[in-house]
Assembly symmetry: C2
Homo-oligomer: 715 residues x 2
């Protein structure tokens, strides 16, 4: 929480700077050029051409005038204030002009210039940022196309035009994609207010912009093209706090794709699975591909979230109705049959052979009135949470009129909090009618499954919003103190890992239930410990030099009495010495022999992007063969822990299957929360850890961490 507070304070200051950078009242083009074809020429031209109303100051030592604007040799020569400086100079000139901008009091630098970390010159990049910060300036880029804003008529980029106006805004890590998508907004009819190229993200990153867009009154939805994040947690915090839907297309999710991404940007693509979890935790909706990014952005930018599970499909064609129904199941919003009163009403607007169940098939006889009546009724019916309207163009109907009927029905229903999406399958007339619908705030798509897919995004948005209230554990100072003492002890011994006994003590401090264990340094101590713990017990060699205890004859199980303890103690010691004569033997662990339970695994990874991340899955073949595991970035809330337990493919095993009783999933969720708290709290100490196996018992019987492992971070 401290971390977030600090972040919020920082962002409050920065937001004003970013505001001046991206919505400048005046702008300098540093490295402006009079030569067509040069970027410094294109930027000046674009500012003029697209109607920028603020002052434009081209900076160029040789020219007197560029495109009719007075040129200045140095930025200091500019008479007025400068909010934003667009940098088009070579990389090697950047230091000097950054200092000059700082001295002039420029607020933000839009650094189009490339030749920094993407070609290995990270030092120079860092230096520029550090100079900028010393003057209170923020840096967008470097290595970008620029920044565009329809509501400010500001094309501060070398992209050829402002995008089709709309309510969404896009942040992209690929400049080429920005230019291409910019032009594609017209052909694809998805409007944007702002397009921001973020490039190497040396300073301003996705999180900064998400925070800023949250306050931008011209943006209703933020779309992201993400190759890799620098600071995953900052991103998650910003996204979680966003009042506006965020949709991300993450590229580099394949092994080869991640390699390709790394080869052309300065950033490393993280493991796709962890990105997926982090996006979900931060209520970020994902797009499956570029078309899907456009399609979902359109719906999220103009339609409200879908707040319940009841989607109704209206259609004049059975075929597209079935395709939409299949899509509903595929995209996680399965259809339900409409209740009798809805069916009765629908029956009024179809021939005998129509179907009123859902999908509602009005048949090819459906005309303007039937569309109008069914749409209007459905929106006002309280069972209906959302509407997908499908239309197959016919020779007898006019797509323009159908579109008009739908729009009128929506308006006259007076309902504004239920989403609607549309698909017209047909020719040019249908296309035009869909264009008109989109202009009037109703998303319309070429294919029925896309109308359903985008509705699924609106449903997902509502669900993610509900889920994002986190109730993760607070940091536990007492536990932390115990853990740090143990860890320091191990570090003093020059060890990079804890023994099982030490690890279990750390686990116990954070409230995880482990099998009881103690270290015996003599036969008598072993007997004493065994009596305290209670028979039967397990005994194991404890030596940093013997990792494979069983191979060394260092493990004896099911010891039932004192005689057994004494015999085992001596045998294990003898075996260990003959396995490795000079082994440093700490003693022999005496451990509770926990009854058998379902084996589950908890693990932690320190993800380079998102930091401490919990892994959960069933043990044995489930993790080793089926890779049936799930991740959450810490801290993990109880609700998230429950999701983890329910979303693995083998979830049914924990729910109790084949006549077995359900397992204690409540205790499991609680354990995940505690484990998550531990690895987050000790993130500077623990490189990786696991609890493997955790023996999970029947409902009400709890669990036991049967083995624990902690590897320390190098210090």
């Amino acid at each position: 929480m401290q971390y977030m507070k600090k972040l919020q304070e920082e962002l409050a200051v920065d937001k004003d700077v970013i505001n001046k950078m991206l919505k400048p009242k005046s702008v300098a083009v540093v490295g402006a050029s009079a030569t067509p074809g040069k970027i410094g020429y294109a930027v000046v031209k674009n500012l003029l051409k697209d109607g920028y109303k603020g002052a434009i100051y081209p900076i160029n030592q040789k020219e007197k005038e560029i495109l009719g604007l007075k040129c200045y040799a140095k930025i200091q020569d500019v008479p007025g204030e400068i909010d934003s400086a667009i940098m088009c100079v070579p990389a090697d000139a950047m230091k000097e002009v950054t200092i000059e901008c700082g001295k002039k009091g420029v607020k933000g630098l839009i650094v189009i210039t490339s030749g920094f970390s993407e070609v290995g010159r990270k030092d120079l990049e860092d230096e520029i940022v550090s100079i900028a910060h010393s003057y209170g300036m923020r840096v967008l880029g470097p290595n970008i196309v620029g920044s565009l804003s329809n509501s400010d008529q500001f094309n501060g980029s070398f992209a050829p035009c402002l995008p089709l106006p709309g309510k969404a805004s896009l942040i992209t890590q690929s400049g080429a994609l920005l230019i291409a998508l910019d032009m594609a907004t017209y052909t694809r009819r998805v409007g944007f207010d702002k397009l921001v190229s973020i490039g190497n993200m040396a300073d301003v990153d996705f999180a900064d912009l998400i925070e800023w867009f949250n306050e931008d009154e011209d943006t209703s939805c933020v779309s992201l093209y993400v190759e890799g994040l620098r600071d995953g947690r900052k991103f998650m915090d910003a996204a979680r706090n966003s009042k506006k839907p965020i949709i991300a297309l993450k590229s580099g999710v394949s092994a080869h794709g991640a390699a390709a991404a790394a080869s052309h940007t300065g950033s490393l693509a993280g493991a796709a699975k962890i990105y997926g979890s982090a996006f979900k935790q931060a209520a970020v909706i994902q797009a499956s591909d570029l078309n899907n990014l456009f399609d979902r952005t359109l719906a999220l930018s103009v339609q409200p979230p879908m707040k319940g599970d009841h989607m109704l499909i209206l259609t004049n064609g059975g075929g597209v109705g079935v395709l939409a129904t299949d899509a509903a199941e595929k995209y996680g919003v399965p259809l339900q049959f409409a209740p009798p009163e809805v069916q009765a009403e629908m029956k009024k607007h179809m021939p005998e052979f129509g179907s009123a169940k859902n999908p509602v098939d009005m048949t090819g006889m459906a005309g303007n009135e039937w569309y109008y009546e069914t749409v209007k009724y459905s929106l006002t019916n309280e069972w209906v949470d959302s509407l997908v309207v499908l239309y197959c163009e016919t020779a007898m109907t006019n797509p323009t009129e159908i579109a008009d009927s739908i729009k009128r029905a929506v308006d006259e229903s007076g309902i504004k909090d239920k989403p609607i999406t549309v698909s017209f399958v047909g020719g040019e007339k249908s296309d035009k009618a869909m264009g008109w619908l989109v202009e009037h705030g109703i998303p319309a798509y070429f294919a029925p499954d896309v109308a359903v897919n985008t509705m699924a995004a609106l449903r997902e948005y509502a669900i993610l919003q509900e889920n994002k209230k986190s109730d993760g554990m607070k940091a536990d100072e007492k536990a932390r103190k115990i853990a740090l003492e143990i860890i320091d002890g191990a570090r003093k011994d020059g060890r990079s890992s804890l023994t099982e006994i030490e690890a279990k003590k750390v686990f116990e401090a954070y409230g995880l239930k482990t099998t009881k264990i103690g270290l015996a340094k003599s036969e008598d101590e072993a007997v004493k410990l065994a009596t305290e713990i209670g028979f039967p017990i397990v005994m194991k060699i404890v030596s940093p030099d013997i990792l494979h205890k069983s191979d060394a004859g260092g493990v004896k199980v099911n010891i039932k009495d004192e005689a057994g303890v004494r015999e085992a103690y001596n045998t294990i010691l003898k075996n260990a010495r003959s396995y490795k004569a000079d082994a440093d033997i700490h003693g022999i662990a005496v451990q509770e022999m926990a009854p058998w339970g379902t084996e589950v695994i908890l693990g932690s990874v320190n993800d380079p992007t998102f930091g401490p991340t919990v892994m959960f899955g069933l043990g044995g073949i489930f993790v080793e063969v089926l890779k049936d595991v799930t991740f959450r970035v810490t801290p993990v809330s109880r609700a998230e822990a429950q999701q983890m337990i329910n979303e693995i493919k083998s979830a049914a095993i924990l729910a109790g299957t084949r006549g077995e009783a359900p397992k204690d999933r409540k205790a499991m969720a609680e354990t995940i929360v505690h484990y998550s708290s531990m690895i987050l709290d000790l993130k500077d100490e623990i490189a990786e850890s696991d609890a493997n196996p955790v023996l999970l018992y029947e409902e009400g019987q709890g669990l036991r961490v049967a083995d624990a492992r902690i590897i320390l971070k190098k210090k």
Copy 2:
């Protein structure tokens, strides 16, 4: 094989009839109308408007002339021959006019008329077909839009226009979709030669048309919109024999969707998983949705199959390159790095910071020449099996010129047997350039992942073609005789299932290895059997009245000697009698106690569409919890059996994991083939059967069917 031969003979006769129906030299419109808005009017108008060159005979008792054409009161009044009669009369008039058409010698009936099985009047539908057949006529429909052919300028339908000309042909079960897609061919730029509405498939079905399209010189690829098939095996045979790619969009794959499909057509949608397997076995490529059907049809209709695994991606934008790379993995054609000589050549056409590995990122500096050079070189390089060319529109390049460079490079390479797909991301100029490419035979798409997805279809087509050579077992007359004797015996006893001993005898007859088992009717017989089989053994009660043998105390395992056999015999008998005093006890089974192995399951279902179908999976939680099973329609070839073993999610367990030896997958595949042969051969006798568990041993050690079950069909 007999079945197929018979089919081929039938089809040879029919093909000529279908040819006359769909490419008529003369056509009658029965129920032609002079009233605009009527279907009988629209059909006549469409024939005229779209330039049909043959004779058109409107049939109408009241009119003298329709749209300038002489009208005939009855079909007999027509002076010339009639190839095709398009029926637009009400359902109740159909019988009479069908007889009249038959008498006149009409070849085919295109029955637009609805009101048959789709509204419960299957009897009438069957009667019409039977009348038609008695005159040697074939029936398309009923309940259809009609049939359209660009190459014949024949719009025999009430769809408003001929589709955009092209090389694909479409068969659709949804009429509304035909009309809508017809118009959409223009906006989506996917050309078709023929569109055929198949409706209720009372007579002519998908198989008939696939056979016919196989000979149609104007069709290079057949697209299907399938809601449900009537005869799955006939379809598979026709598809397997097709020399042209077939692509199917199967709707009704969700539970709710299947219900929706059933409500609006006369046919039942089959289980999606079995459809998926059957399509694969018949070399039919699937489309995931309507857009995908268009996209893949385009590629398959104009590009050759991709014959190897090496796909090379060329791009001027890193972002789209990464997206395409992700898509390559997602769609099963993962990228590999290009070999050094290819990289060396590519390096010549990019700046220092480009990447030559694959994707080949020429960067935003790529212009016409670099595209030309890289495309031309790549096509001629022998490592490259296919090319995906991506382009992000930039301000510095001209999409039209890039398109021209690509096309020139393809032409000048002289290579015709390697496929190429393209994606331009950009605005109107890019769209136009892509339109030009498509017109010139190069599929071009809005998004990079689509260019990859369609290339994956071309790869899949090549692979499915290679795989479709079936080497399934021949029918085994000797096995059949043994099986029928056993089955007849059971039927005579009034039983609907075989005992385990009987079932195992049937399995053994078809070459499956079962655990040895015999029936003892006395203590001495039991001892004799046990000695023959070899100790240890298992003994079980055999009684049609005791299904749950263990519950009845009717099972004893691990019996090691004669004394044990005698004791078990008496105990089991006593237990069984006290469990159910009047049970009909056949005796006690004495069975080999097979050593433990990995438990797998074979099962059979008699799919309503595809007939006998084999299911394979691992036992226990894998089938019960994870539903990790796979299907193949019989007969199953060795290659298909191997695919089944390799495609289950838990395949790694059979490959040997966690230090265990690989299992005997060869024996498993052989067993699948034999099992498949058995259930196909006995398809009229067996309703369902399973081998559960099959104990699978290490490589070279074979397997044992430890339990076998056969449920008989009701006769």
